[in-house]
């Protein structure tokens, strides 16, 4: 048993070490309470729905979300819009379909099974419209950035005037959380930019938090069931481990050796 504790200690030290070495050049991000962190972490339904609103009204004019479908909006563990709401949301978008029997492409209202409509036809078109910078797809954006949700949350609020002596080209903005501090996206959020249906005040901070929560869900749509299953799995394993420990003690008591 003693050597097992020693092994466990090495485990912890080792991972502490490796995690620390990964985040060596970390900047201090803005902190907020994320409801989805922790053993029982769940998404805040309201935040997800508001976040979706911010995404559609603000981000989606440049940023695609190609891995999400409208049906996801009604699925368990997500924003959980009602099926009727999700259908209405889908129908509010024009989707290009086809070719039909005449060989023509046509547009029709979106269905639940459709993927989120993309703002641009292709990467080149997106670059052409944004001064050469491609607005990244947001489906897994949170997982694709070292700082994760804290980074995105901070970035959205990190626009400042550049420090004296720093000259910025046209279409380049100063952001204190961006890698290299230069970003090609202008500040998008301002107080009261969107009007929340649930009456929440749409401050920049609130919108940043909501849309980041939405992006977290977009990147990890099964996070809630992962946390629930994880807790059950660990409890189950712990109980089994204790039972096996006593069986082991019992079996080894037949010989005069300690385990």
């Amino acid at each position: 048993m003693k050597s097992y504790l020693r092994i466990l200690l090495i485990f912890i030290l080792f991972f502490g070490f490796s995690v620390k070495s990964n985040s060596a050049e970390k900047i201090e991000y803005l902190k907020t309470d994320w409801s989805f962190k922790g053993l029982f972490g769940k998404f805040d339904r309201g935040a997800l729905q508001r976040g979706y609103q911010v995404y559609t009204e603000v981000c989606s004019s440049c940023h695609s979300m190609k891995y999400l479908s409208y049906r996801n909006l009604a699925e368990k563990g997500g924003p959980e819009f009602s099926l009727a709401q999700a259908k209405a949301i889908a129908a509010s978008f024009e989707v290009t379909d086809g070719p039909n029997d005449d060989g023509e492409m046509f547009t029709r209202p979106g269905k639940l099974s459709d993927k989120f409509v993309m703002p641009y036809d292709n990467v080149k078109a997106a670059q052409a419209a944004n001064g050469g910078a491609y607005p990244p797809d947001m489906s897994v954006l949170v997982k694709a950035r070292g700082g994760g949700v804290d980074y995105i949350y901070s970035l959205l609020q990190g626009y400042e005037n550049p420090p004296a002596g720093m000259s910025l080209d046209d279409g380049v903005y100063y952001n204190k959380y961006m890698y290299g501090n230069k970003i090609k996206m202008a500040n998008q959020l301002s107080d009261g930019l969107v009007e929340y249906g649930d009456g929440t005040t749409a401050s920049v901070e609130q919108m940043s938090k909501d849309v980041t929560t939405f992006l977290m869900w977009a990147a990890e749509p099964h996070l809630e069931s992962r946390h629930q299953m994880g807790f059950k799995a660990i409890v189950y394993l712990t109980i089994l481990t204790i039972l096996v420990y006593f069986s082991m003690k019992r079996i080894w008591s037949r010989i005069e050796t300690e385990v």
Partner: protein
């Protein structure tokens, strides 16, 4: 293995066993006499078998949904994460399973180094183990390429480019490996094929590894040869089975924590960006378990020599049974070796740390010193130590060293101190 007489009880059993002695094998595995003083460091063999099977099973399921095509690989992984039933679970087990596999194999290897398990008569077990370790690294590297993220692509570019260091034919070999003039779709499809093949090669080698183990039997913390079966041994079942099972469950709790609560912490964020041949990531870093070797590679200014140093760092292990000249196996009775052992452990951890850092300034200097020391340990310290070191008296049997019959090592050591006085 042959000193085992077994006759099945049933008539059919006897008929079958005469034709294919599977029952004899099962009986051998059950009764296999195991030293009774094995500590928990010895449970990692079983844990590693579990890791291999887990990787194979989850890998099979993933392969049913994954598409090995440069334009579709990234999408198909997201499809697995989102739309395949429990696809996220299978993928996170597979991805974190690789890390857990390496964690366990490093403990297994360092256990062997501490207790001298590689020494005669166990050299063949050790060498097969080194081959398994090499194949594991190959499989892990190939697997990391499959999601076709930025680190996949650029990691593949960096590693395959190492072959260009070979004089004369290097460039040709790289083109041949790529199946073109850069890492692209042909590279991905062959990497997928090889990634699928290697685990089964490992499985075959594991069988040989265990077979070779069952000829001399397990080493033990005291490191002495023991009579089998005797008072010093217990049958594998139930004693070792239950103990390995207990240790495995503890391991699985750690494993589950990673899978369910921090599934991406061991991976690099850039791998969630789809591969883009036109954009190079700021830092190209391999997975944590390859970092010490990456540090060795980068610490040598010349490309070819760097590759040679990196390969030697692994292959030197195969020569270990002959580099270590000491007749005493266990570090418990080798006071000097014990200190050098821990220095080596620290050295490898330092190499891992600097491997994750940019190769410049102080980091580079530290990497060079640590690399030099790594080779010094195996090529100079170990051979000399065997002749110079004054070892402690070794007990005659596991039950012998201690009054009262407990083979507890702490007590054994105390008793030695008494004898020295």
């Amino acid at each position: 293995m042959s000193d085992h007489e077994y006759t099945p009880k049933s008539k059919f059993g006897k008929w079958f066993n005469d034709r294919l002695p599977l029952l004899t094998l099962a009986s051998h595995l059950t009764d296999y006499p195991t030293p009774k003083n094995l500590n928990y460091w010895w449970t990692f063999g079983g844990i590693l078998t579990f890791c291999l099977i887990t990787q194979i099973v989850t890998g099979l399921v993933l392969a049913m949904h994954y598409i090995a095509h440069a334009d579709m690989a990234f999408d198909s992984v997201e499809h697995i994460m989102r739309d395949v039933n429990y696809g996220w679970l299978i993928r996170y087990i597979h991805a974190n399973g690789a890390s857990m596999f390496f964690l366990a194999v490093y403990i297994h290897i360092f256990r062997s180094l501490f207790y001298g398990s590689y020494k005669s008569p166990r050299e063949v077990i050790w060498i097969i183990g080194i081959i398994i370790y090499l194949l594991m690294m190959a499989a892990a590297f190939l697997g990391y390429v499959l999601p076709w993220g930025q680190m996949s692509f650029w990691g593949a570019t960096v590693i395959t480019n190492l072959f260009s260091a070979i004089p004369l034919v290097g460039e040709g070999i790289v083109t041949w490996l790529w199946g073109g003039y850069s890492v692209d779709n042909p590279t991905l499809t062959r990497f997928f094929t090889l990634h699928y093949l290697i685990p089964f090669l490992i499985l075959g080698l594991v069988v040989l590894h265990i077979w070779a183990l069952h000829v001399p039997g397990n080493n033990n913390p005291v490191g002495i040869d023991i009579k089998k079966p005797s008072k010093d041994t217990v049958p594998f079942h139930p004693y070792i089975v239950i103990k390995d099972g207990f240790a495995l469950l503890m391991f699985m709790i750690v494993f589950a924590f990673f899978v369910f609560y921090t599934p991406n912490i061991l991976g690099h964020a850039d791998n969630y960006i789809e591969a883009n041949p036109l954009v190079t990531p700021a830092h190209i870093v391999p997975e944590w378990y390859l970092l010490p070797f990456y540090a060795i590679l980068r610490s040598v200014p010349d490309k070819l020599l760097g590759v040679v140093a990196m390969l030697s760092a692994i292959l030197i292990l195969a020569a270990l049974p002959w580099l270590d000249t000491s007749k005493i196996r266990s570090a418990v009775f080798r006071p000097l070796y014990r200190q050098f052992y821990w220095i080596l452990v620290a050295d490898v951890l330092i190499l891992g740390y600097v491997g994750a850092m940019p190769a410049e300034g102080l980091y580079l200097l530290v990497a060079r010193v640590a690399t030099a020391y790594y080779f010094l340990h195996f090529l100079v310290v170990l051979p000399i130590l065997g002749y110079k070191e004054k070892t402690l008296p070794v007990p005659l049997s596991i039950t012998e060293p201690v009054l009262g019959g407990s083979p507890n090592l702490a007590l054994a050591k105390n008793k030695e101190k008494l004898e020295v006085k």
